[in-house]
């Protein structure tokens, strides 16, 4: 009985020491992350793990704060496998959900504040944006027999659920049409589920727009909503308010995926000059990537503009 008691006591002691060791390990890791070497190691770990799971590369530079879940970095850059830079964000402050990241197998950021930078949404020859080719990774359950060489098997998840930003430069280029939004501020969300599609959503965006179209070469944008979703027939969909041609306008449109029909942009205006001609307003539809054709008909300015496909 005495021996059993000593065995039990000894076992309890070992368990207590193990628990203490685990707590000490966690506390030591948290404390050392505050040091310069710890912050550098965290940046290397996030960038290294993400880069090993995607065709392109993700690099974290200048970790200023590593008080998990709060992480503040000077610069975050994403490149394709060929070295083309598709994302360059500066002064990023984010909350990293460590447990969700460990569970899902990839970084999950709940919130982010971005001070500036540039995001490039340029269509590659296969119809998908280069930014998707930088992140895209096929899951192991994919049945595709012709798996491209840049898509190693496995599961990689990344989510940035709510990012607010200011002074971002957003560049969109597809089929010869370019649009550049400078000094953009607003909100965004980036989703990369465990399949080969990356989804990006921007909303409440304001900024200065420059395009290569003749209809709206420059304009001040307010309330822009832009969605990049390769899962649908249109890769890029957008709708926004514009101050252009001395009128307050609403524009919406879509850029198709490679197998989709031609892109389209619709313009609504309720400004004074045209309102007097058509009554409430006018709808101008024009095809992107082909000769410009106008389709003018009177319409009410829609509260939720939708730019229909050509029939």
């Amino acid at each position: 009985m005495k021996k059993l008691g000593r065995i039990l006591l000894g076992t309890l002691g070992v368990l207590a020491l193990t628990a203490f060791a685990l707590v000490a390990l966690g506390a030591s890791a948290w404390l050392h992350l505050q040091q310069t070497v710890g912050r550098r190691a965290l940046g290397d770990a996030i960038g290294g793990f993400a880069s090993s799971q995607m065709p392109g590369s993700l690099r974290v530079e200048g970790v200023r704060t590593a008080r998990l879940p709060l992480v503040e970095v000077d610069r975050l850059r994403v490149r394709t496998a060929g070295g083309m830079e598709v994302m360059d964000l500066r002064d990023v402050s984010t909350d990293l959900d460590v447990f969700a990241s460990a569970y899902h197998g990839g970084p999950i950021f709940r919130r982010a504040d971005v001070g500036g930078g540039e995001i490039s949404i340029v269509q590659s020859p296969n119809g998908k944006p280069w930014i998707e080719r930088a992140f895209a990774r096929r899951s192991s359950s994919s049945s595709s027999s012709g798996k491209p060489w840049w898509a190693p098997p496995g599961r990689f998840v990344m989510r940035l659920e709510d990012a607010s930003y200011e002074s971002i430069r957003l560049m969109v280029e597809a089929g010869g049409t370019e649009a550049r939004l400078t000094d953009a501020s607003g909100r965004a969300r980036i989703w990369l589920p465990d399949r080969s599609d990356v989804q990006m959503r921007f909303w409440g965006v304001s900024g200065r727009l420059q395009t290569s179209t003749d209809i709206v070469p420059t304009a001040d944008v307010h309330g822009l909503a832009l969605t990049v979703d390769p899962t649908g027939p249109s890769t890029v969909r957008f709708a926004s308010g514009l101050d252009a041609l001395d009128a307050d306008m609403t524009v919406a449109g879509h850029v198709p995926s490679r197998d989709g029909s031609g892109g389209r942009m619709c313009l609504w205006t309720g400004g004074a000059p045209l309102a007097s001609l058509f009554g409430v307003g006018a709808e101008v539809g024009t095809s992107l990537f082909t000769d410009v054709s106008f389709d003018m008909r009177p319409s009410e300015a829609p509260s939720r503009p939708r730019c229909r496909e050509e029939s």
Binding site: L17, F20, A21, S28, A29, H32, Q35, R39, A41, A45
Partner: protein, 88 residues
């Protein structure tokens, strides 16, 4: 793994090991110190180098030696981290 990651891992493991060995060492020394005044027992419990010295003085070898090794290793790693430029 980069050099910063290896150094961070080594710092965390050596500091944790020194901590755990320090606790075991203090428990070994204090177990036989019932006749000592409380002030001395508290001082030994808080000052682990003193506990290591007391342990060695009473003929213990493994725990004091491990404590010294882990502590010196941690100090050397901190020096290396200070000298190396990880600010980029």
């Amino acid at each position: 793994m980069t050099a910063a990651l290896w150094l961070l891992l080594a710092l965390v493991l050596s500091s944790t090991a020194a901590l755990v060995v320090g606790v075991v060492l203090t428990q070994q020394v204090l177990r036989h110190d019932d006749d000592q005044p409380w002030s001395r027992r508290i001082a030994v419990a808080l000052l682990w180098p003193w506990a290591a010295f007391e342990g060695m003085r009473r003929g213990r070898v493994v725990a004091p030696a491990l404590f010294v090794v882990f502590t010196l290793t941690y100090a050397a790693l901190q020096l290396a981290a200070a000298v190396a430029d990880f600010s980029a």
